[in-house]
């Protein structure tokens, strides 16, 4: 009954309803994009963090024993999440795999040229500097390659995206709530006479309030669905661009599950925003 009345209200003033749904759509579109970006950058960061971040190359003189000592030294710091020994033969195999299309390069290289190495990853990128210094000062260590910049840059980007996204999201959520408050308030003002009549006929406060609150929820739900659809459309349109950048990472193609969870999140948020906005209006204008 109340839902029927709410849809009747929307049909009778479609432009107000449209403006509320449009602003909600924009909010949820931006929210979806930033959620995906935040999730994506986090996944990429995890992906790079899982990769070896420090590679310790040994001199020719380094035997298995001294390499094991250095390995233990690094592990004992308690800051190493993984360490892998790559022998000269394994290094050659990797080299061959990476250059299999270029026989000339393969001919020139033997296992003796390639150094044995330890690939080290850490729990936290902030520990890398310490591990780097420790490895660097060991005898038998020829070179230490430290992928500090990649991870650090990614961390900075992730934090930046989170901050900008959160700020924009807070602004848009407040804006959406205020739009629902204003539009619901306008509708209550337009229906002042009708509300007065309903009261004289014995309508309870909640009988009068429900259609307005449901209307706010409808704006939120439609805004969430349209915002999510717009996100899907943008992702679909930028398919070729995404595949260029993200192939090989766990991000591409974006799993259906993630999009499903995103829809659920925006729908719940839509209901919450619509309810808050319309309830605020009802409390303020329907005394």
């Amino acid at each position: 009954m109340h839902l029927k009345t709410a849809f009747k209200h929307i049909r009778r003033s479609p432009y107000q309803a449209l403006s509320a749904i449009m602003i909600m759509t924009f909010t949820f579109f931006v929210a979806s994009i930033f959620l995906l970006l935040a999730l994506g950058s986090q996944t990429i960061l995890k992906y790079f963090e899982g990769k070896p971040q420090i590679t310790v190359f040994f001199t020719d003189k380094a035997d298995k024993n001294s390499i094991n000592k250095i390995k233990s030294l690094l592990v004992d710091t308690g800051k190493v999440s993984g360490v892998k020994y790559v022998s000269q033969e394994e290094a050659l195999a990797i080299y061959k795999e990476q250059n299999k299309s270029d026989p000339l390069l393969l001919e020139m290289v033997t296992a003796d040229i390639l150094p044995a190495s330890l690939e080290v990853s850490s729990f936290d990128v902030n520990n890398l500097k310490e591990l780097y210094s420790l490895a660097k000062k060991q005898e038998m260590v020829e070179e230490v390659v430290f992928q500090k910049d990649v991870v650090q840059n990614l961390t900075n980007w992730t934090n930046g995206i989170r901050r900008i996204g959160l700020g924009l999201l807070i602004f848009l959520v407040i804006d959406s709530i205020l739009i629902v408050v204003t539009i619901t308030g306008m509708k209550i003002a337009i229906k002042k006479d009708e509300i007065e009549i309903l009261r004289f006929l014995g309508a309870t406060n909640w009988y009068i309030r429900w259609p307005f609150i449901l209307e706010g929820i409808i704006y939120g739900v439609f805004g969430a669905i349209f915002g999510w659809l717009a996100t899907c459309l943008v992702l679909w349109q930028s398919n070729s661009l995404l595949s260029t950048f993200l192939t090989g990472t766990p991000l591409y193609p974006i799993p259906y599950f993630v999009m499903g969870v995103l829809l659920a999140v925006v729908l719940v948020s839509g209901v919450v925003i619509g309810t808050i906005g319309s309830y605020m209006a009802v409390k303020r204008y329907l005394k």
Partner: protein, 227 residues
């Protein structure tokens, strides 16, 4: 059924609308409230429906003490009343059917029940063929009948009509009065505020005459005289 005891109403602007009013109205009575404009007729109706509280005194309707009823309980009180306003208060963007149906929708009636009862009530007030018309397509008398249909559809204990013949020609006024009399005969108490001398005098019902917020006369089969 209705009891006013030492009821006074003074508005914030200093106007005294009623002072020290006492009366009792029994079930199934037909009572005219008469008097010039500003005498306090509409104030009595507004106090009875709990639109505003009296400044002093107590008002009883059935088991309710209207002046003490909390705002939350007002809807329950008003569901026992049918009200016909002087300005009708019809919804101009709704059909006759929808205007009448709203009174049952408020009570949570089912669609089927609403359809049947609205049809039955509109036929009773002579608007059976005008259900789909909008208020702008109706004459003054038809508008008044729509308002009466909306007031009586929920079978109220009491029907309050504030100047229901104010803007009508004599013939239409009599049609409305005949309708109100029929409703009264079916067992509904009717209180009608009016200053239509001819109607009051012809009907021979109870007349409460007011002037400057006081009851100056209350007669069982009264007449309305103007000085």
């Amino acid at each position: 059924m209705i009891k006013f005891e030492k009821v006074s109403k003074k508005f914030n602007n200093g106007t005294t609308a009623l002072s020290d009013i006492d009366f009792v109205i029994e079930e199934k009575e037909f009572v005219f409230l008469t008097g010039p404009s500003g005498a306090g007729k509409s104030t009595i109706i507004r106090l009875l429906i709990g639109d505003y509280p009296p400044s002093t005194g107590s008002i009883t309707f059935l088991d309710w003490e209207v002046n003490k009823i909390p705002k939350k309980k007002l809807p329950h009180l008003r569901r026992k009343m049918g009200i016909v306003f002087q300005e009708l208060k019809l919804l101009m963007d709704r059909s006759v059917f929808e205007n009448v149906a709203i009174a049952l929708e408020v009570l949570g009636a089912k669609d089927k029940e609403i359809k049947e009862k609205v049809k039955e009530t509109l036929e009773m007030v002579g608007l059976g063929d005008d259900m789909d018309k909008f208020p702008l397509q109706l004459s003054g008398g038809e508008l008044q009948r729509t308002a009466i249909a909306r007031a009586i559809i929920k079978k109220p204990e009491i029907l309050l009509a504030d100047e229901p013949t104010a803007d009508l020609d004599p013939a239409t006024s009599w049609e409305i009065i005949r309708l109100l009399s029929e409703i009264n005969k079916m067992g509904t108490t009717v209180i009608m505020a009016t200053h239509n001398l001819e109607i009051v005098n012809a009907l021979g019902k109870r007349v409460m005459s007011l002037d400057k917020g006081k009851i100056i006369k209350d007669e069982e089969k009264g007449k309305y005289k103007t000085d």
